[in-house]
Structures are given as structure tokens and as C-alpha cells.
């Protein structure tokens, strides 16, 4: 085993890794010290790698290597070290039945002495290292060219908390955590069917991040699952720190501002999406889970839509679509009407607007740009600032920028109303990446309507529509089921049909037969046998 210095390993990590992988693919040897040394060298003597020498009951030397912080020390003590060293083990060794005494010692160790839930054997250095830094305890036994990887993992983790970004009034409160196993468990708990498949993948040459692909066999289309696999396999990057990295590399159209990958931190949303035939991608270390294929309409759906009564949900969806239009077009429409199409405003309104604009030094377009940018800065500040600055920022934001700007005659009150209403409207879009995308597109539309009026605005809308219709997400048209229109699937788009009426899963996403619901339509029935109770 070649001995290398720490710096050498660091450089080899950042370079094309050939030297490193070459040496790491070495097999373990029978000599205990050599194995331990190899580990020590490979980790560069990192201080969180802990080595514990043991002398086993039959006199054989052994070393347990763990990554401090990733293992449960109590479990390690109880199920590994105690089992290997305590006296009663020695006694029981003597009392063993003959056939067990005849077993090779390593086999005996694995099967009968180590009391942890999962024990694996590795013969190669890289596998061993991998297990070590994933939080497994590594046991080297002298004279044995294998390492035992014992599962006593205990990640630093937080408990399951209510979702902060996607809140509902009615519906489950739990959200994903940074731990991928907790996350898969949250989904498993909702879908108790063996056909829920969770495939493990890895991405990131340095971070070696765990990924999981979740889908339901028999609902999700094979072609789409294969596509997801192949796109994930294509990823060759050193680090995956958040699912956003994956999203950027597997999305369909890199130039579009529209997201073609859906993301959520709610397990109930993931369960619902899987049941429609979509595929979820979990990334270890982040609570944000990706869902593909993503359809345009699903960005405007909140999980609560499905928990509320269908009529209420449909009404709220209509409100939301008004909000969407206002987010995108509010300021542009105002600019177009007030600078190009004054004849379209009611007379009383235009007199009022003119009187408000008396003495405003900027054209409406500049005024709108100014206020929109101010609002976006305020909003960003609100997200980014430490919590104790909150009151200051909201005071400055609302009072100084709002009221004082109007009183000083720099912006007109009407413009402030438009900007404020646009700001509020942008918050009704349940999914942040879509709302960001629309906020971004608002600016070019404002420029268009500031130069060409409603004509420019309409041209912008037409271009946007064309673009949206050309998008695909994992082969599925982005605007479906609206364009191409599928009548059976349209019941869950701008409105939502009641659950008893939604008989089929989305055509574009799921395999046939796709009937999901055979419940008859409920109707009032008389009490079956009213006299029975009186007996």
C-alpha cells in the first residue's frame, strides 16, 4: 500500500481522480495495521475519524473505525464493542455448539457476535471508505482481508416540522427533512403498496450525494422512468448540495424561465403526484423533492385544493388565475392604458388619474419600473434579512417608500395601488419558482407595453403562449391537458371536479388502464330501516 501525504490526496481529489481511484480500488489485505494505515492515509488523518483498538476474546487484535458524529456512540458501545470484548462472550464462546465452533471466526463474528441490524462485508478499500464516511462503523480483524461495515448510523438530524413555504389550512402538517431516509419513510407511510419503488442513485464526484427515484410501478410510464434514469446518469459534477443542482441538469429547456421540474417539501404532494404517475427525485441533504414531468397547470395547484370541497377549490383556483394574470400583466396593463389608450378608461376615472398624476416628474413607465424594482428589493430583503430587522424594514418599506413617496409627489397613488396589488397577487401562486418566473417576465412585458401599448403587450402574450406550447417536460407537453386538450384530464386544471367524478389518472402520465376511482356519485338516501333502532 502506497503511503501518501495529505496534500497529495487533496490535489488528487480536485484533479481527474485517476491516481486516487487507482489506489483506492486496491483490495484490503490480511494485515490489520496495513488496512488501518490505508484508511488513515486515505482520509488524510481527519480528526473526526476515530480509531479504537480492541483485543478480542480469543486474543485476535481488531480495530473499529468510525466517523465521529455520524454514528450513535451508545449503539456502537452496546452492540459492537461490548459484544466483542466482554467476558460473557468468552464464556459463551466455549459453550458454543460444535458446528459453530468449527465456523471460521469472521463468519461467526458476523452471524452471531455482532448485534447490529445490518452488517456488510467489504473487500475493497474504496467501498470501505465509502461505508465509513456514510456513518457505518468499520471493523477490521487481524488476519482477515475483509472489513465489516456495521450499521450504527445516527445522522445529525432535525425533527419533522410543519412546512413553512407551502402552508395549508386543511391538510397534513408534516414536511420533509434533510434526511433522505426519513423522507422516503414519510412517503412509504402514505403509500403502503409494494409497487412503490425507491431506486437508489448517487451523484456528485466529491459529495457522493444519495439520490432516490420514487415511482409506482404499474402507474408511472416506463419510458419516463427510463428517461429520468438516463438523465440522472448523465450528471457528472463534483457537488450536489441541493436538489436545485439536479433540477438544472435534468430540465428540458435550459433557456426558458418557466420551471419544467416541480418541487415541493410536502410528503402528501409527493404521494399525490406519484399516484398520478409522476416520478419523484429525492436528494439527500435537502427537504426539497423534485417531481417530473411537471405540467404548467400543476404549478398553480395547492394541495389544499384536493382537501377542500370541489366547489370551493374551483372558486379559489379561478381567483388564483386572476392573480396570475395580474402578476404578469398588472403594471403593463396600467402603463398601456394610461399612456396609449386613454380613451378606454371611464371618464371619471381618467379625470381622477390625471389629477393624481399632476406634478409627477416621471412618465408612467419609469414610475412603474421604479416601484416594481423597489418592491422586488423589499421582498428580497424580507426573505434575506435577520429576523430582528423585520420591523425596521417593514416600517421603512411601507411608510417611507409607500406613503412618503406619494406625499412627496414622486409616484402617484394609483401606481402604488397597482404595484401593491400585483405584489399581493404574486403571492397567491403556490409554487415559488413559477411565481418568480412570472415576476421576471413582468419586466419585458412592461417594456413592451411602455413602447407599443396594448399592441406590444398582446404581442408579448402571444409570444409567451407560443413559447409555453413549445415546452415539454420529460416528453410530456408542458401545457397539457389544456394544449393538447384532453377532455378527461381537464377536470383538474382551472377548476377541480369532485373526487367521485375524477375517474381516471392523467392520460399523458400514467399507463393504461388508468382508472383510479370507481366510487359512484353520492346522493341522498333515506335511512335504510328506521324502525330497526327502536327494537
Amino acid at each position: 500500500m502506497q503511503v501518501r501525504g495529505e496534500s497529495e490526496i487533496m490535489t488528487s481529489l480536485s484533479h481527474q481522480d485517476q491516481q486516487r481511484s487507482f489506489s483506492l480500488q486496491d483490495l484490503l489485505v490480511t494485515h490489520l495495521d496495513a488496512n488501518v494505515h490505508a484508511i488513515r492515509t486515505a482520509t488524510g488523518g481527519s480528526c473526526d475519524i476515530v480509531y479504537r483498538d480492541l483485543k478480542l476474546v480469543n486474543g485476535i487484535r481488531a480495530v473499529v473505525v468510525v466517523t465521529d458524529g455520524l454514528v450513535d456512540m451508545q449503539q456502537l458501545q452496546q452492540f459492537v464493542i461490548d459484544s466483542l470484548t466482554l467476558d460473557h462472550t468468552f464464556e459463551s464462546l466455549n459453550d458454543l455448539p460444535f458446528e459453530m465452533k468449527e465456523m471460521p471466526f469472521p463468519e461467526l463474528l458476523r452471524q452471531s457476535i455482532l448485534k447490529a441490524g445490518s452488517v456488510e462485508e467489504h473487500s475493497r478499500l474504496d467501498q470501505t471508505l465509502d461505508a465509513l464516511i456514510s456513518g457505518l462503523a468499520i471493523l477490521f480483524v487481524d488476519g482477515f482481508d475483509r472489513a465489516f461495515a456495521i450499521d450504527v448510523k445516527h445522522y445529525p438530524d432535525r425533527s419533522i416540522t410543519p412546512s413553512e413555504a407551502e402552508t395549508v389550512v386543511r391538510g397534513p402538517r408534516d414536511s420533509f427533512t434533510e434526511n433522505i431516509r426519513t423522507n422516503t419513510a414519510l412517503v412509504r407511510r402514505r403509500i403502503k403498496h409494494p409497487d412503490l419503488r425507491i431506486e437508489g442513485h448517487r451523484a456528485g464526484r466529491v459529495t457522493m450525494t444519495n439520490l432516490s427515484i420514487l415511482y409506482i410501478k404499474g402507474i408511472a410510464r416506463h419510458s419516463i422512468v427510463d428517461e429520468v434514469r438516463s438523465r440522472l446518469r448523465r450528471i457528472d459534477i463534483d457537488a450536489v448540495l441541493e436538489s436545485g443542482y439536479i433540477e438544472a441538469m435534468i430540465q428540458d429547456n435550459a433557456r426558458s424561465t418557466f420551471p419544467t421540474v416541480y418541487h415541493t417539501e410536502r410528503p402528501d404532494v409527493i404521494a399525490a403526484e406519484l399516484l398520478e404517475g409522476k416520478i419523484a427525485i429525492m436528494v439527500d441533504g435537502t427537504p426539497i423533492v423534485l417531481v417530473v414531468p411537471a405540467l404548467f397547470v400543476s404549478f398553480f395547484h395547492s394541495p389544499e385544493d384536493y382537501y377542500q370541497r370541489a366547489d370551493v377549490a374551483s372558486f379559489i383556483r379561478l381567483l388564483r388565475s386572476i392573480g396570475v394574470f395580474f402578476t404578469l400583466l398588472g403594471p403593463s396593463f396600467y402603463i398601456a392604458l394610461t399612456t396609449f389608450h386613454q380613451e378606454m378608461l371611464p371618464t371619471q376615472l381618467i379625470v381622477r388619474l390625471i389629477s393624481q398624476r399632476e406634478g409627477i416628474p416621471f412618465p408612467a413607465f419609469i414610475e412603474a419600473m421604479l416601484m416594481e424594482i423597489t418592491f422586488d428589493i423589499l421582498r428580497e430583503a424580507g426573505v434575506r434579512m435577520p429576523k430582528m430587522f423585520g420591523p425596521t424594514v417593514s416600517f421603512v418599506g411601507t411608510l417611507i417608500i409607500g406613503q412618503s413617496a406619494v406625499e412627496a409627489g414622486i409616484v402617484s397613488p394609483a401606481m402604488l395601488i397597482v404595484v401593491a396589488f400585483t405584489a399581493i397577487s404574486s403571492l397567491v401562486i403556490p409554487e415559488t419558482s413559477m411565481s418568480m418566473s412570472l415576476r421576471l417576465l413582468r419586466y419585458p412585458l412592461m417594456v413592451l407595453s411602455g413602447t407599443f401599448g396594448l399592441y406590444g403587450m398582446m404581442a408579448g402574450i402571444i409570444l409567451l403562449t407560443l413559447h409555453l406550447c413549445s415546452l415539454r417536460s420529460f416528453g410530456v407537453p408542458y401545457m397539457s391537458p389544456l394544449a393538447p386538450f384532453t377532455e378527461e384530464d381537464a377536470g383538474d386544471t382551472l377548476i377541480r371536479l369532485p373526487h367521485w367524478a375524477a375517474k381516471k389518472r392523467p392520460h399523458q402520465l400514467s399507463v393504461e388502464p388508468n382508472t383510479r376511482n370507481r366510487t359512484p356519485k353520492p346522493h341522498p338516501e333515506p335511512q335504510a330501516n328506521p324502525n330497526e333502532d327502536h327494537k
Partner: protein, 400 residues
């Protein structure tokens, strides 16, 4: 790269499609609310526009004491020229799309208004939904000067008052610009236009002090209709005659009229529904004109001491109403047919529709023919529906 160029080319096609590029900031506009056109000496036009001083008209924190509107006037050989000349006194671009009322001076109306109508319908800014009125015995510019209470912008006040009285006062009717144009083009019908008269003086009416009393002395009031022949004003109908015209045309919805009942007292009726139909019949070579009118009315006020619950009273009342209406309408018809010789009802159109071949012979001088025709046959049906919340007159009920 090629794709990008193609896209840029495709997008650049959008630019030549743009129509008029009229970018105008709100704070650079002067909104015309009222337009008045008069004839000056030497075939010149005097155009007056009533422009809103928006800061004053919708002042929220107390007004500065300025007038809510400003009147600009300019002379010109054509109206367009006068409008252009206006820019020498107006600090802002004059914007005509929100015009609320067009006033034409009587002198100009008698001279002919086709040029005015041509200018307004040719200009892209003007809509066609504003009412047109004639300043009776006066100049349009004077009528636009008067400040009004309640609605601070006089043009809006004028339009509102006209629309309101059209609904509730049978003699007035609002003629909008497009209707006037249609009347002018139609060969079988002559246009009518509402008249407005000034009460008091326009000089005093233009001051704010005019509004400081509960009953402003200087104001505008609508009066009877003016009758046009082609584009020229040829005469005025009295209020009574205007009422007859409106009733005959079925436009008397919500209008009130009085009828004398058998004991000599009056009953007021409010029209709830009225349908009128013009008739024409060719008997040999003789044209006979007719008018069917069906009216449903409610009792508004009763002064006569008759049992209103009895069928006979009601049918007697209906009969009397029919007679009264017949008298009113006949008076109007007589005036229009024989005195003014202008078919403002549109009998000509009716003949045109029914006897297109026969019409060809008449169409060139229909109005002369119209004057020579026998009187129009009236066929009026009145139905009284509701008596209101009480039945008999209170006095007689108490005595029972």
C-alpha cells in the same frame, strides 16, 4: 445562430404592423369634456372647448378656488384649423376621446352642420356616444361657460341631466352623435336635436359665485326639439309638440302625463311600456300613413273622486287617455307635416321598406310629398295596469 436570426426577423415583422403610435402621458393631456361650435362672421367657425382642470375637478384636500374647467376658444376657417389654433393657449395636448357633450350654436345650425359632423366623424379621437344639443337663440360658447353645482364638470352635468330627463320627462330626448348622423343620411327621415336654453347670463354663470346659492340663477335648461332638414335647422317644436313626438315614437318610457277624468279633476299616469309602429298603405296611387301605439301605464296620482277599483272607471280612463294622446300627437303631426314639412318620424323609411319600387319615385322629394299626404291615421291602445299602494282617493275612502 440561424434560428436566432430567423426569430429576430419574425419578431421584427411585428413592428410595421403597429398603427398610430400615440404615446401620451396622462399629465400631458387636457381632456375635452364639452365642445361648442359657433358660426362667426365671414363664414368662420368659433370652436370652444371645455377642458377639465383635473387637479381642481377632483381635488381631495380642499380646492384652490379655481374653476374646475377651463374654456378655450379659437377661430378658424375650418374646425380643424380652429382646433389647431387652440394649442396656442392650451399648455397640454387636447384629448377629445372623452367628449361628453357637443353643443352647436343656433346660428350655425341654421347655416348647416355637415362640416362639423364631417370633422368629428373623421377624427380618430372622437367617439360617437356623446349627445348633441343646440343652444337655442344663443352661442354654444356661452352655454359652455356656465358652472354647475353637484357635478363639478358642466359637460358631465349636462349629459347626466339630459339622460335623466330623457327617462322621466317626456318632452326631452337625448340624440347622440351617431343617431344624428344616421338621421342625416337617411332619406326617409329628418333628424331632430335636443335644444338647450340659457337662463340668466353666461358671464355671471361662469363665476364660482354662481354656485354659492341654493338656486343658481344662471343655468342651462333643456327645451323642445329642433327640427332639421338635411343638415339645416328649420324650426323648433314646443315642449308639448316634443312630447307628442316622443310618445308617438314609443320613447315615453317612465314619462308622466295628465288626463282629465269625467268629474273634471286630473289623474296622472306614468308610462310603463310603450310600443309604436309606423304603418303605410298604398291604396291605388294614394299613400295612407298610419301609426299604431300601445301604451301600458300606472296610476301615479289621483285627484278625481271616482271609485278607482271599478272596471268602468278604469276603462273610461283608458278611453280618455287615448283621446288625450291622440290630440297631442295630432298636434305634433300637424305641425311637422304641414308647417315644417319635415318627416322626423321616419314614415319615409317605412314606405321605403314596404314599397321599395314606389319609394324610388318619391325618394328625391319625399318631404314635399309628405306635406301633401292626408293626415296620419292614429290607432292608440292604452292599458292601465297598477293603481299604486292605495286604491281610492284618500278623502273619499275616509268618508265611507
Amino acid at each position: 445562430m440561424f434560428r436566432l436570426i430567423k426569430m429576430a426577423l419574425a419578431l421584427s415583422l411585428l413592428i410595421p404592423l403597429v398603427g398610430c403610435w400615440g404615446r401620451l402621458e396622462l399629465s400631458d393631456m387636457a381632456i375635452t369634456m364639452g365642445l361648442g361650435i359657433d358660426l362667426a362672421d365671414g363664414d368662420k367657425y368659433i370652436v370652444s372647448i371645455q377642458v377639465v382642470d383635473a387637479g381642481e375637478a377632483s381635488a381631495q384636500k380642499g380646492s384652490l378656488g379655481r374653476s374646475p374647467v377651463v374654456l378655450y376658444s379659437a377661430k378658424g376657417k375650418t374646425i380643424a384649423e380652429a382646433m389647431q389654433r387652440m394649442t396656442t393657449s392650451s399648455p397640454r395636448t387636447i384629448f377629445n376621446s372623452h367628449l361628453r357633450v357637443l353643443i352647436i350654436g343656433e346660428k350655425l345650425a341654421r347655416h348647416g352642420i355637415s362640416e362639423v359632423l364631417d370633422f368629428i366623424s373623421r377624427d380618430r379621437q372622437f367617439r360617437t356616444d356623446f349627445p348633441v344639443v343646440i343652444a337655442k337663440n344663443d352661442k354654444a360658447g356661452n352655454a359652455l361657460k356656465i358652472l354647475t353645482p353637484i357635478e363639478s364638470i358642466p359637460a358631465i352635468q349636462l349629459m347626466r341631466a339630459l339622460e335623466y330627463s330623457e327617462k322621466h320627462w317626456a318632452p326631452t330626448i337625448a340624440i347622440h352623435f351617431d343617431e344624428l348622423i344616421q338621421g342625416l343620411i337617411a332619406k326617409g327621415r329628418q333628424p331632430v336635436v335636443t335644444g338647450v336654453v340659457m337662463i340668466g347670463s353666461s358671464e355671471e354663470g361662469s363665476r364660482r359665485s354662481n354656485l354659492q346659492t341654493t338656486s343658481p340663477k344662471n343655468r342651462l335648461r333643456f327645451t323642445g326639439l329642433s327640427v332639421f332638414h338635411r343638415d339645416r335647422l328649420i324650426g323648433w317644436l314646443t315642449e308639448e309638440e316634443s312630447r307628442g313626438f316622443n310618445i308617438a315614437m314609443g320613447k315615453a318610457y317612465k314619462g308622466t302625463g295628465n288626463v282629465e277624468c269625467s268629474d273634471g279633476n286630473e289623474v296622472s299616469l306614468e308610462v310603463q311600456e310603450s310600443k309604436s309602429k309606423l304603418k303605410s298603405k298604398l291604396k291605388g296611387d294614394n299613400l295612407v300613413l298610419g301609426l299604431d301605439l300601445k301604451i301600458e301605464a300606472n296610476v301615479e296620482e289621483v285627484a278625481c273622486k271616482l271609485p278607482m277599483t271599478k272596471d268602468e272607471t278604469i276603462s273610461d280612463l283608458e278611453k280618455r287617455t287615448e283621446d288625450t294622446l291622440k290630440e297631442i300627437i295630432n298636434k305634433t303631426l300637424n305641425r311637422v307635416q304641414h308647417d315644417l314639412k319635415a318627416d322626423i318620424f321616419g314614415f319615409g323609411d317605412e314606405v321605403h321598406r314596404k314599397y321599395p319600387k314606389y319609394w324610388k319615385k318619391l325618394s328625391n322629394d319625399w318631404d314635399t310629398h309628405f306635406a301633401e299626404l292626408p293626415p296620419v291615421e292614429l290607432n292608440i291602445k292604452v292599458k292601465i295596469r297598477l293603481l299604486g299602494t292605495v286604491t281610492n282617493v284618500l278623502e273619499s275612502e275616509g268618508s265611507e
